[in-house]
């Protein structure tokens, strides 16, 4: 069964990015290679443009399971955007041993 609405079929190979919390997504980012991050990013980013109207129409109130899965996957795109676009590495430069935990986040 498809993880996402049909027009997001390009995301199917990356369904394991559809994780429920920022902590999960960030941990997966740190555990990934740059090739893996780039590949996911390349598949997902164009959908923000081509499916912008669809995303505008997805109400968070009563969101379907497929759309929630999609939202989580695109939240993971946000998580990987900095390594791909700016840092060119999975972790934040100059951050040393520092870490920041997200303790509260909106659901969904």
């Amino acid at each position: 069964m498809a993880a996402f609405p049909a027009q997001f079929a390009a995301l199917e190979p990356y369904a394991d990015w559809a994780l429920p919390s920022e902590a999960d997504r960030y941990a997966k980012r740190l555990a990934s290679s740059m090739d893996e991050l780039q590949s996911f990013y390349d598949a997902a980013l164009p959908l923000l443009e081509s499916q912008a109207d669809y995303l505008k129409g997805v109400s968070l109130d009563g969101i379907s399971e497929a759309d929630l899965n999609l939202l989580r996957c695109l939240q993971a795109l946000v998580t990987v955007s900095f390594p791909v676009e700016a840092w060119h590495q999975p972790y934040v430069p100059d951050s040393g041993a520092a870490s920041i935990d997200v303790t509260v986040e909106p659901r969904p």
Binding site: E22, L45, L48, E49, A52, L55, K56, G57, V58, S59, L60, D61, I63, D67, L70, L71, L74, Q75, L77, V78, T79, S81, F82, E85, A86, W87, V92, P93, D94, S95, G96, A97, A98, S99, I100, D101, V102, T103, V104, E105, P106, P108
Partner: protein, 436 residues
């Protein structure tokens, strides 16, 4: 380019000289590396000043409560909304044998929730949300106890603009509103209550709390450290920054920034995610209109206003952005060279997946840059602790750093005077004042 080219400065020529009490000499950061000075801050500041411990959003209904550990003040407080809707704060300590009253699995971790009463794990004493003792186990075994006199120790607690503050002094010297003064107080009409959707961050950092605050009260470091913020094609570390307006009011301070709004930048100067998500370090571009006029913001009346960065003494920062989201940061010392950083990011509620993604991107942007700061400032602490230099130069864009350290020193000195210690100025080798 000479100072003042971008934005007009006061008649004195610089922001710093507009406040002559600040001086322009180099500043010692002994106050950021000395365990003795930290002990003085604990008594002079964290047990005297009004401290923001949360927002009314943390107490959504009658019976809501949360605990807040204030390590620097050597206590934990319980903040409650009682059956009449009144907000209270108490020392989180049982009246019987001094056990920490409210905690879950570990007494060193904060908790929150909803309760009809608090029950001490140790001997089962119970307290209402108004702090009154309601039950003493085996009451008959005690000698002359009066339950009515065995309530929790109340802590002064006031709410301003939805922000809950406590003051651990026996008698607050000022009301909260007096303490906040006219500049911060003017923000009272800002529609904080419309922004109910929150992301919260927490970090444990290996630097003095003031070292971290210092990085968040000057933008001089942004072009060199955060070159990414300047976009993919514009990473010139020689770019300069000037604040459009600086203002001091008592121990509090503000810097306002200006510039072309991010959503009006040419797309080629931005990252693809920023353009497609319509969001970034200045917040979601498509903001909900809250009000035509927003009270208290942009105190300098600058054109093309972008951000107000209010530094509220001692450890609260409120950042208000032109795109109607706001951030509040709190910096809680845990020793002379460690602290906990808490950040709350508040948005109007997202209604659609697209709006959620825009908010997610703004929030994650804050985290990415803050991580750069966390790492770098651990390095600052290490450098300062080497004591390679006695003092350090600060420029006009760092006026708020200068003012902050002066304010902290003034509070510590005032406390020493109040205790009868007439030795003014900070002497790191002097013994700490005896209290009590």
């Amino acid at each position: 380019m000479s100072p003042g080219d971008l934005y007009p400065r006061p008649a004195e020529g610089t922001w710093t000289e507009h406040y002559p009490e600040l001086g322009t000499s180099e500043v010692s950061f002994q106050d950021s590396i000395s365990p003795e000075f930290y002990r003085r801050e604990q008594d002079a500041i964290f047990r005297q000043a009004w401290l923001n411990v949360g927002r009314v959003d943390d107490l959504p209904k009658r019976g809501s409560f949360f605990t807040k550990d204030i390590v620097a003040a050597r206590t934990s407080v319980i903040v409650t909304r009682d059956g009449d809707g009144v907000v209270h704060a108490f020392h989180n300590v049982c009246r019987h044998r001094g056990n920490k009253l409210v905690w879950d699995e570990s007494p060193t971790q904060e908790t929150s929730g909803f309760a009809r009463q608090f029950v001490c794990k140790y001997h089962g004493w119970r307290y209402g949300l108004d702090g009154a003792c309601t039950y003493v186990h085996q009451e008959d075994e005690f000698f002359d106890v009066e339950k009515a006199t065995l309530g929790l120790a109340e802590v002064a607690c006031e709410v301003w603009a939805g922000f809950i503050f406590v003051c651990l002094g026996k008698e607050p010297r000022q009301t909260l509103r007096e303490f906040l003064g006219p500049m911060v107080g003017a923000l009272e009409g800002y529609p904080f209550e419309a922004m109910t959707e929150r992301y919260s961050f927490r970090a444990e950092n290996n630097s003095n709390w003031k070292v971290f605050i210092d990085a968040f009260q000057e933008y001089y470091h942004v072009p060199p450290l955060h070159t990414y913020q300047l976009g993919p094609n514009n990473r010139d570390p020689n770019l300069t920054f000037e604040g459009a307006h600086y203002q001091l009011d008592g121990p509090h301070r503000v810097v306002s920034t200006t510039g072309v709004q991010k959503h009006k930048w040419p797309p080629e100067t931005m990252y693809p995610s920023e353009v497609l998500l319509r969001s970034g370090n200045m917040g979601p571009w498509d903001a909900h209109e809250l009000a035509a006029e927003i009270s208290g913001v942009n105190p300098g009346g600058v054109d093309r206003w972008g951000i107000d960065n209010f530094q509220i003494f001692p450890n609260l920062e409120i950042l208000i952005y032109e795109r109607n989201w706001y951030l509040s940061y709190r910096f809680w010392p845990t020793s002379h060279n460690t602290h906990v950083f808490e950040a709350d990011l508040w948005f109007t509620p997202a209604k659609t997946a697209r709006e959620r993604l825009a908010r997610e991107y703004a929030a994650i942007t804050v985290k990415e840059y803050a991580l750069q700061d966390c790492g770098t400032l651990d390095g600052t602490q290490l450098g300062l602790e080497s004591e390679a230099f006695d003092s350090y130069p600060l420029n006009d864009q760092e006026i708020l750093v200068r003012h902050f350290h002066k304010s902290v020193g003034d509070w510590v000195d005032a406390h020493r005077r109040a205790l009868g210690d007439e030795t003014l100025g900070f002497d790191p080798m002097a013994p700490p004042p005896v209290t009590g």
